[in-house]
């Protein structure tokens, strides 16, 4: 664990709220970035950031200093993001059942056939990337975001997900496979 984090955690545990403030200030941007990658929208990401620190504070006594404080926060943030995604999905499912069928947004996107530069750098690609990430299972998405964007090792991701090395590797691999299937046509068109 980062020595500065370790000292701040110890002080926060003994009641020093300034020490906890330091930890919040130090890690907020990283947690926001992860939360945004997980949830795909700013409003939810902000909610995840706040909730992550509140939960972290309440569970400070359960934090084991042998792992990095940042990774521990990622674990809380990932779990809460997943809760949020599940809850959002349940609500969307309910709403879909009560509404007449809507056209698929992806279907309504124009095919990627204009000039390659326009395609690769357009918002359409970003939309497709987001949609492809949304297609991943919770475990695949978490594993992929932590590996690809946050650079956590397979072992650290396993700690976050509570899975073994092989299962974690498979989650990353399956995520990449799915992303390839979704995005390769776009990338091919851009060449």
């Amino acid at each position: 664990m980062d020595a500065d984090d370790g000292a701040a955690v110890e002080r926060a545990r003994s009641g020093d709220s300034d020490a906890f403030r330091l930890l919040v200030e130090r890690h907020s941007r990283n947690v926001f970035r992860l939360a945004f990658r997980m949830t795909g929208n700013e409003h939810d990401a902000e909610d995840v950031v706040q909730e992550t620190f509140l939960r972290a504070f309440r569970r400070l006594d359960k934090y084991e200093t042998r792992s990095s404080f940042g990774t521990w926060l990622f674990r809380i943030a990932s779990n809460y993001s997943l809760d949020l995604l599940r809850s959002r999905k349940r609500r969307e499912d309910k709403r879909e059942r009560s509404l007449p069928e809507q056209p698929d947004i992806l279907e309504s996107m124009p095919a990627p056939n204009p000039g390659p530069d326009r395609v690769v750098y357009s918002g359409q690609v970003q939309g497709r990337v987001q949609a492809a990430l949304d297609e991943l299972t919770e475990q695949e998405r978490t594993a992929f975001v932590l590996r690809h964007f946050e650079g956590l090792s397979i072992e650290e991701i396993g700690n976050v997900l509570g899975t073994g090395t092989n299962a974690t590797k498979h989650s990353v691999f399956r995520a990449v496979q799915k992303l390839r299937r979704s995005l390769e046509p776009l990338v091919g068109a851009a060449k």
């Binding site: 545990r13 945004f36 909610d47 706040q50 006594d61 809760d83 599940r86 609500r91 990337v129 590996r147």
Partner: protein, 245 residues
């Protein structure tokens, strides 16, 4: 070596392949695998093009300002920090009590220390149901707003209630208290839904929560169970131990 598998290429990309050097050497001499690796790189580079909104260096301070009032003062795990361990202790005591209570017949007509404990512990379950009822009632009666509705307080309380509820439910279930277990099971599902909601929800989301509470008849069930527990609690101490909930 044989051609690199897709999995090996993915692990190579992330620097996690155990046989990294061997695969790299193979790629150097194999156009087919090199093409596969380039295709993989192209896709993963495209994924990087999805932007994340920027947050400046002052962002951490802004987050702290938003949560500061919700961060309770800690004084370490001493007597003054009773709010940290009291609910959990109460839950454990109730669990221990219920487990023992239904495995031993109550034969003595003499007020024992066990009966006194029973009274105290019934109070804990009653309090749990009262606190749950308050959260449910607040959400059920929350008026629709023009924008999002702040339920952060209810959410926080639901989260705290969840752990105790789980313990009470499991204990009730293993003690053969099917009625109590069923109500606590329903309550747990709704508490979980509230605890996992965002701190601000839309009118539609509020309506979904209210419908869930209404359709389960949860407020009524929790109220009835709470009343039964209170009645049990108020019975003369000599008879109390003979009556099941």
């Amino acid at each position: 070596m044989n051609h690199a598998t897709e999995e090996q290429l993915v692990l190579l990309y992330y620097g996690e392949a155990p046989e990294q050097a061997e695969i790299e050497q193979h790629l150097a001499g194999c156009e087919e695998c090199r093409a596969g690796y380039r295709a993989l790189q192209a896709v993963l580079n495209t994924v990087d093009s999805a932007p994340v909104p920027e947050r400046g260096p002052e962002y951490g301070q802004a987050v702290w300002q938003r949560i500061e009032k919700r961060v309770p003062r800690r004084r370490g795990l001493r007597w003054t920090a009773w709010w940290i361990w009291a609910p959990a202790l109460a839950a454990l005591l109730v669990a221990a009590f219920l487990a023992g209570r239904f495995t031993r017949p109550a034969t003595s007509d003499v007020a024992s220390s066990g009966q006194v404990k029973e009274r105290i512990l019934l109070v804990a379950v009653g309090d749990h149901l009262d606190r749950s009822q308050m959260v449910l009632a607040e959400l059920s009666n929350a008026p629709e707003g023009k924008g999002d509705i702040d339920i952060s307080d209810e959410r926080e309380r639901a989260e705290e209630l969840l752990e105790d509820n789980r313990l009470y439910r499991i204990t009730a279930s293993t003690s053969g208290e099917a009625g109590m277990a069923s109500v606590l099971d329903d309550l747990e599902r709704v508490l979980m839904e509230i605890a996992h909601s965002p701190s601000e929800i839309s009118n539609d989301q509020l309506e979904d929560l209210q419908r869930d509470i209404r359709e389960r008849g949860l407020l009524f069930k929790v109220r009835v169970l709470g009343t039964q527990v209170r009645e049990q609690e108020n019975k003369p101490i000599l008879k109390a131990s003979k009556n099941r909930l």
